[in-house]
Symmetry: D2
Subunit: 401 residues, 4 copies
């Protein structure tokens, strides 16, 4: 009676999730993956969207679930995907984000100077050693080295299971309906052509909608002014901790974080991994709570603002007028905060954000009803034209201490 | 152009939430309420339901939102509720859970020996001082001292806005559909009769469904075996920390928690409040992470299990057979863990849980189409008969160290 | 490139529906099944629930879809169901309601004296002749003669795919949320034990919820007072047409309906089939529109009321007080309508309705975690106790001519 | 106890709908409005989307509901809208589609040569006479003659309550998710500026999404190939009935339709109204069923195809290649149908369809955070650029008789 042993995950987004492989269960239960339960998918965006407390762990399950559904549809359509390849693809889905650190993208490359994908690979490889090579094929898919190229594209391309999950999930938890994607239809219309992942023509509107949804989630959530501002505050926090450390001012923090801050610059990913795997959202919030009264008043100001959700102001500025606006802003901030100390300048930042748009050098490919392949930019006369938009901002404190 | 200043909260559960009072905004933004952002609504239930990371803060907003909608409907129906009373009721809704501590109910009365409602009142009163008495009426509603008794019943009774929100919200985030409640219909059918909150007869099935939903959420979520087990683990953790403290074994923990553990027994709520307000989920997770290598191997075992989601086993046992089962279980656990140390007994617990059922001494009252009032138990011939069910369990470790 | 030929049905209830068999497509496209597009699932209930215009055709697709999903899950669990058996079960699902007539249950046995299941079987058999026996196995499943008894139970039992679809669908289209059922969980927890369909213990609450949902849909939709009243009006209409025919008063109507009304009493199902297959909701509405000015003022009154949604009054009465209430009611109706003609009595009806409750002689069976089978009434201590409730009513006109 | 008298409509799309005015109830219950229950919102689109059986009546309720919600929000924002104006606007919403005929747009101007809006106005005026002028203000809003221009814009403009309802409703019932619109946010961000309806800047993405949704509903539903084909078939049916009438060949049909077909050309709307108000979907389906065996084999062929859902083929053709394609197609059709009769040419049609896009001469206006008004085309750099797309098609029979 093994039948009952299958684990079911109840997901409000996708319904019931389950996988037919014991190895997947082992990987899900591994402390490295469980760590993702303590890392929110959208950082501190829940300051703006109170429902957005969902985790990287949950996203990861969702990505593997969609991958598994696509593979089943492909198999039904007659494409050859072996049982091992199916399992490896789902494993790759589980591992693709395992390298994320505290608050996901918000602090990416700020604590240690590596991109999360590089770290994911390092962690996956360490795990693979523990598991005596059971993850070999999954890793080859992650590294785009597997001969069935379309499996790698399923995990990472302009129309992949990662994006399908995060748009749907972030939309669900933020309550921003514009992010919804017609997942069911997309899942059923993936196909393979000359070893490449393609989408059947009948889903062309659903693909267009997917691109629009992505665009809208950027402007409404990912680069929402308050969300960007919180992200800047977190970055300032980390920088200020580093500055204090360099200046021999003690900051209360867990040893893992201290070790990374001290050694990150000159180390390889591998050497940092032990400390890195101890990091999560709790680490940062602990630092915030423990240094509310730190003698560096800039640090303590940041900690207090982050704890009590006193979000810095952020305004879009046009780059041309930058200097003037900046100076004027500065003056106003000083006046309103009544703070004559030059240190306050540390808390005023400018920067540029852009929505990552559809790129033309590696297009989504459409399989027409006649069996031809055409790039999306040709198939769709309407929406793919979206240009990459970038906007500059100034971010500054607005609460008195 | 003040119009645009109204704050909108985007809630995936209720849609857009907003209130027409500045004082509410002030209270929502207060650090005491913001603290609830760091306290999950369902403790560590997300170990079982990966979507259940929603917070007390979000629930609190939802409760106030439903309260506001009910009041608007009542006003439309012609019942006299002044602007101030409306505001105070929404404030009471915001404050009703402000006293919750880490992991909400899971550790209630375990860290300090007070019920969360008593603490809520103490915090509300302190806030009221800060606000020069602006919360007077809200507090009178919380204390059931306001002459319009039905306002207090709206906040706390067998069919109140608290339950409407938590069933709906917990159902939404766990993905357990059985917990859904016909909120829209209930909101529109609340009425007042002789100063008491009543429900119009036409919503009788929706009330029945509400009780069934509550029943099902108990059995599927709130006293799910793994959820109970995690709760026992958290309780053991706190007890073990206390034991170590008593025995002069240092445990790494924030000073606020240390202060509470040392002083809670003989203090008043008021004296503990400063330390208590520094507690949240982060506090406990920080202790877990900081004591993974604690010399007390029972404590370190608990920390490791809680960090890596190694959930203890839990089985329902019938009370009569208790002794025998207990002894046998004990023997098996010892064998499987290979642990001869008597200390292991600390980790084996029995207990009893019951679903809180509908009680007959303070019934939901139904306003019939003819204008009479009858208790629900009479109006509904079907579902109110649910008996209070209690079940005993044994909980025990099952992962080797 | 046959891949693209699979037909997708976009169902707002279940998502995308498709089947892997050409024969199913042939049956779906057959005029007998297409006829169900012109028969509403819930009769004229859309007079009360304006969204409830969904059809028997749509329901039929949904039943086959759920059957197919259950079979796939069972196959994954290792139960032996051949490709032919799977196809035949889905065909049986498609055919199970093919015998429904105008407004589904509302006029059942009123136009011809046969139950819809008997007619379904006759139509299926005629279709089977056309298809040279391709439906043999499907018919054996419908007739409960197939050796795999559980396949027949899947189509018709106390927890079958028919009920799963109609509760979910009727709930969706009426907007009565109480009828929602946890279909996904139920689909995944069906199992087979000694050739019987059983449900795994872990879905016990979902089964309870299913029974509660059914109960609530009865009271809120299926025997809603206005819905019952409309049903009585339709029955009166058919009776009045018959009376006029017997009295040689011409009624304008299609020849198929005339032929049935004249010949139904003494004929076999087979002989009536040709005429019967020409009936649908349009037939009745056509009669209503064509006889608005009929010389029999009772008939014309009914036609006008049904066209313009002038719903008769309906009140629950207690049987004991029946005579008195009836007489009094009668008097009031006469007064209010100002109608002295005795014919008006034709329009006043009493009757009894009962909610079909869970029956104990053919129980839903639960497969416990230990592999035992116990009846639901034992597994669930709470909800199965629902008694069959019956209620008497009086129905009467309330609009002046 | 009048409180309970308020009528609630349970709408699966918007939740509970109710209005505080008796006059609205009177209008809803009027036979002219009840007629819309027998007219499907999307014609025979349910041949393609089996869930799309929703009616004009239901849509009309929804439009009035959204109008009422917008007005309430505007009143809360401080804009002056009197009780009478609120009621009149909701009445205008109820009346705006009252002139629709069988299958809504599918046969518009085919039976009588008037646009549905002109007919709506004529019906509203007749109703107004019955109601002694109670609809005066509502009619002035419909005719855009009311001084508060923004009320007329709310009912009919590029971002009006009509579109908000039909996109949402058609999306819901077809199951095409791309059509969903963020109604809640739009309702809360309507504003008024210099007597014109404007939208607050914070909803800019939701407006963009609304335009994209409209675009997608065109391509996925409204001009779906099979939907267009069915529409062509209905048009051919009506034309063929007319031809037969002209040729003195009797066609079985209700007298109202016969009267319109005979007299429509030279009459005013007013003179045709009595007959027109007797038309609905049933009328056409009745003609289809009654003429299945008509001696004109083209007419009988159309009737049979429409009854049994034998949809004609439809292909997009490029206009340049039109002649050649047409001739070739013709040849193939003749060969495949084996039909040498020239009459078959009647059944082959070409035509052009275009998606109605955003137009620049009457723009949606955006109220910026600084209080300025800018047209959407300026506020949104991305999506408004959609060009009007038109496509040519050829439509032809493909089922043998």
């Amino acid at each position: 009676m093994k039948k009952n042993r299958v684990r079911y995950y109840t997901d409000p987004v996708h319904g019931i999730i389950s996988f037919p492989w014991e190895l997947l269960q082992l990987v899900i239960d591994h402390p490295y993956l469980q760590r993702l339960r303590r890392i929110t998918q959208c950082g501190l965006s829940h300051f703006v969207f109170p429902g957005a407390n969902h985790t990287r762990f949950h996203h990861t399950l969702g990505v593997a679930h969609i991958a598994w559904r696509v593979i089943q549809v492909m198999q039904e359509k007659g494409f050859s995907i072996s049982k091992d390849e199916a399992e490896a693809t789902c494993l790759a889905a589980l591992l693709h984000d395992i390298g994320h650190g505290p608050y996901s993208h918000a602090l990416e490359q700020k604590i240690i100077p590596f991109h999360h994908e590089e770290i994911s690979l390092a962690i996956a490889q360490r795990m693979n050693q523990e598991l005596s090579g059971a993850l070999d094929m999954a890793i080859s898919i992650l590294k785009k080295e597997h001969p069935k190229k379309f499996l790698s594209q399923l995990i990472a391309s302009q129309l992949d299971v990662d994006r399908l999950d995060y748009l749907t999930r972030d939309s669900f938890y933020t309550g921003i309906e514009e992010g919804r994607v017609g997942i069911d239809r997309l899942i059923r219309t993936f196909s393979v052509h000359e070893n490449k992942l393609v989408t059947e023509e009948k889903a062309i509107q659903t693909v267009e909608k997917f691109l629009v949804a992505r665009h809208h989630m950027y402007w409404q959530v990912y680069i929402h002014k308050a969300v960007l501002s919180i992200q800047q505050m977190l970055i300032m926090l980390v920088e200020r901790i580093k500055t204090n450390c360099r200046n021999q001012n003690d900051v209360i923090m867990p040893s893992s974080l201290r070790s990374l801050i001290t050694n990150a610059e000159n180390s390889s990913v591998q050497n940092l991994l032990d400390s890195y795997l101890a990091l999560d959202d709790v680490t940062i919030m602990q630092v915030i709570k423990d240094n509310l009264g730190h003698p560096d008043y800039i640090l303590s100001y940041l900690c207090n603002c982050l704890l009590d959700r006193k979000i810095f102001g952020l305004e879009w500025i046009s780059i041309e007028k930058n200097d003037y606006t900046f100076a004027q802003k500065l003056r106003n901030i000083n006046l309103s905060l009544g703070d004559q100390n030059d240190e306050i300048l540390f808390l005023i930042r400018t920067g540029t954000e852009k929505s990552t748009s559809y790129v033309l050098d590696n297009e989504i490919e459409i399989l027409t009803n006649h069996g031809d392949i055409i790039p999306l930019s040709e198939a769709s006369h309407v929406f793919f034209k979206e240009e990459s938009l970038s906007k500059s901002f100034i971010c500054y404190p607005r609460h008195k201490r």
